[in-house]
Point group: C2
Chain length 422, copies 2
């Protein structure tokens, strides 16, 4: 791709620093609604609202770009309505960068009986149960109406495991074991074939997305790499997708059921294969250690619903790990959630005891304050990561954030990351 | 009362202007946590939180003093816990004036099977069903622990009507009618006797409250006038209660089931009987026209849950009357709730269509933004009322606020004011 063609894109990327010992880069992405620093954490405002937070409160957490879910907005209020309101920036009164996903993942994961064909995905609306077709053309039409600065290709995102696990246990009977082994093998082959299909379809669908894109001067379209944890398939997908002249690329199909180790291994291999001069986005990730691993692999953008979803449910992130605010031990605590945090809740002097009271009394301010804290927690981590890339001091980063090195994110109930919230 | 005794009180009142054509006064109340302008509207932060609003957001609505419910806080987190946390100001991070009610009204209205005796009120906790006694001594002990700047006497607040209405319909049979008439008369007499009892008990309980008050230099105790809509009883109560040397007095037992006309008539008569040089507080009132009628009668302080309760449920106040945001007619509206309003929602550019979307999608930001708007609506009304007292221009006030002259507050579902919210 020539410099001339790069300059056409409404989304531009510049690298400001590189970490000598890792693949990490520090940079800046510029969009029609301003720029954001990378590596960036993008919090999720599913239905054009980030739960109880006003746009000013979102800004105060340090977020420079947020996500909207095209799937939710196409169903309610609807794509045409979004256009009527002047797009999501006007609708939700957020004048900074926005990214929308394509809706494919939600169409798959949020309803039963979804059917895939070369045309697209047939699914039932979670709002009124009506049958709808989401195709590459329709997804781009919806995303053009929403008007985000960065829009995502409509991809085929198969589950990480296709009921292979269901036949993986062994028995005491050799004949049964052999039968199960054949069944397992056949399932593995079936899953592999499905992944190959998904990759080639994703590539054909990307061509249709590019052709359907009506606002290429205002919205940057990112391609998505699929292929699960199979590196050969990932390579095949990278070769196909990165052949397109696009302003950015994403790694999709992670955090969909694999282990943290599998995510880290896959990302470490695949990220460096993506173009050096374009932003790289790891979709739906994740916990603090997953983000740090992604950054070290060369990822520039992350998104996750964890801060708001867990905040709503009474779980707070801290540099030492998660905290369940309803726990009786916080009843008379005068301490802030995290003494190192400068968020409205922590710096504002709200005690764990008060926050626990709000949750016990089912008061809205509890979810709001914990969401604000959690969002700021992730933004503080990103600030620290960006500084670390400059001085390459990863061990002192880990000292400031013990949660990164924790063997698990055991949160006595903290929920796993998923790429959507209702 | 001498000037020397007045200066002992931690709550002081000065009158800055009087309306020549009415009994309205413009003034300022000074407390240990700062002063507030009167006539004042005090929004309700029942459980030491005003629903989804942060203290900064409450301040931004223009509120200078807020209410806490002693009943809710004594049950959760508990009076001793409130003390442990340094009182409500520290607990909820609100450094301006706070007023607490005594808990008597809630003990009566929030549970079944409440029993009154000379000692106090026996009721069941709405949190865990345990049987509790709320006496004048316990109420003051709880309010001393919460630490509000203004605390309220523990009074006997009987219902406005004692099942009199239930026997008020007439039949076609003369004998039955006569029987019903006797029954009605006996019910009315019974109710009257109950009101007389309530007044004399309220007076005896006030003496016990004064004796039990352990922080008279930091918290001003207000007496409460009962007597329903019976002016002779109200007079009797004023004579008893205003004999106490207190920094302020309240009219209780209104907005408990009477008509708007009955409220206005009673307040117009009773308010001028209260000491001229002390703030007068009309408890649990109310709608815009009730507030204006109260101000003209000489009332200085009002409180009501209407702004937040209705906001949460999707009803917005406007100068032209209430608005149901879920109504389909707002679906594509680009208009703000009220073009005359300067609240975060209206001045921030959030359209009716967006707000409706938030309510349809059951998103927390909807209740938060509508509560912010409604709270600002009442504070804007108070600003205008205070200006009107200076220039005595009541007719132009009514032109700017058509809702004041509306024959009813018909909100196609707007709820009645009640003095508590859960």
């Amino acid at each position: 791709m020539s410099a001339a063609s790069a300059s056409r894109h409404p989304v531009q990327f510049e690298i400001l620093a590189r970490s000598p010992s890792t693949n990490a880069r520090r940079g800046r992405v510029t969009t029609p609604h301003g720029s954001f620093d990378t590596p960036a954490f993008m919090p999720v405002a599913t239905a054009a609202t980030m739960k109880g937070l006003t746009p000013d409160q979102i800004t105060a957490t340090g977020a420079q770009i947020i996500l909207n879910n095209a799937y939710h907005l196409m169903l309610r209020p609807g794509a045409e309505r979004m256009k009527h309101f002047g797009g999501s920036h006007e609708f939700m009164r957020w004048n900074k960068p926005i990214l929308t996903d394509s809706g494919g993942f939600q169409a798959w994961s949020m309803t039963e009986g979804t059917k895939i064909s070369e045309e697209g995905v047939m699914f039932r609306s979670f709002v009124d149960g009506s049958k709808l077709m989401l195709s590459p053309e329709r997804s781009i039409e919806v995303q053009n109406a929403i008007g985000a600065d960065i829009i995502m290709a409509f991809d085929d995102c198969p589950p990480a495991r296709m009921q292979v696990d269901a036949v993986s246990e062994s028995t005491t009977d050799a004949a049964t074991d052999a039968k199960l082994s054949r069944k397992r093998k056949s399932k593995v082959e079936e899953h592999h074939a499905r992944l190959v299909d998904a990759i080639d379809r994703t590539s054909r669908w990307l061509a249709r997305c590019v052709a359907a894109h009506r606002r290429p001067d205002e919205q940057g379209l990112f391609g998505i790499i699929q292929g699960g944890t199979d590196l050969a398939l990932r390579r095949r997908c990278v070769d196909q997708i990165c052949a397109f002249d696009l302003p950015g690329f994403a790694i999709g199909g992670v955090a969909v059921g694999e282990s943290s180790q599998e995510i880290h291994r896959t990302v470490a291999e695949v990220a460096p294969w993506l173009p050096q001069d374009k932003p790289r986005y790891l979709m739906g990730v994740g916990y603090e250690r997953d983000i740090v691993a992604g950054v070290r692999a060369g990822i520039d953008m992350f998104d996750c619903v964890l801060p708001t979803r867990n905040g709503r449910k009474g779980y707070a992130f801290t540099s030492h790990g998660p905290l369940r605010i309803r726990n009786a031990k916080h009843t008379i605590s005068l301490e802030p959630i995290d003494a190192a945090c400068d968020c409205l809740a922590c710096a504002g002097g709200f005690s764990r005891g008060y926050l626990r009271h709000l949750f016990m009394a089912d008061e809205m301010l509890g979810p709001t304050l914990l969401s604000i804290h959690n969002l700021r927690h992730f933004q503080r981590l990103m600030v620290d990561i960006r500084a670390t890339i400059h001085d390459d001091a990863w061990s002192t980063l880990a000292q400031r954030w013990p949660v990164i090195s924790a063997s698990s994110n055991d949160a006595s109930g903290m929920e796993d990351a998923v790429a959507t919230e209702s």
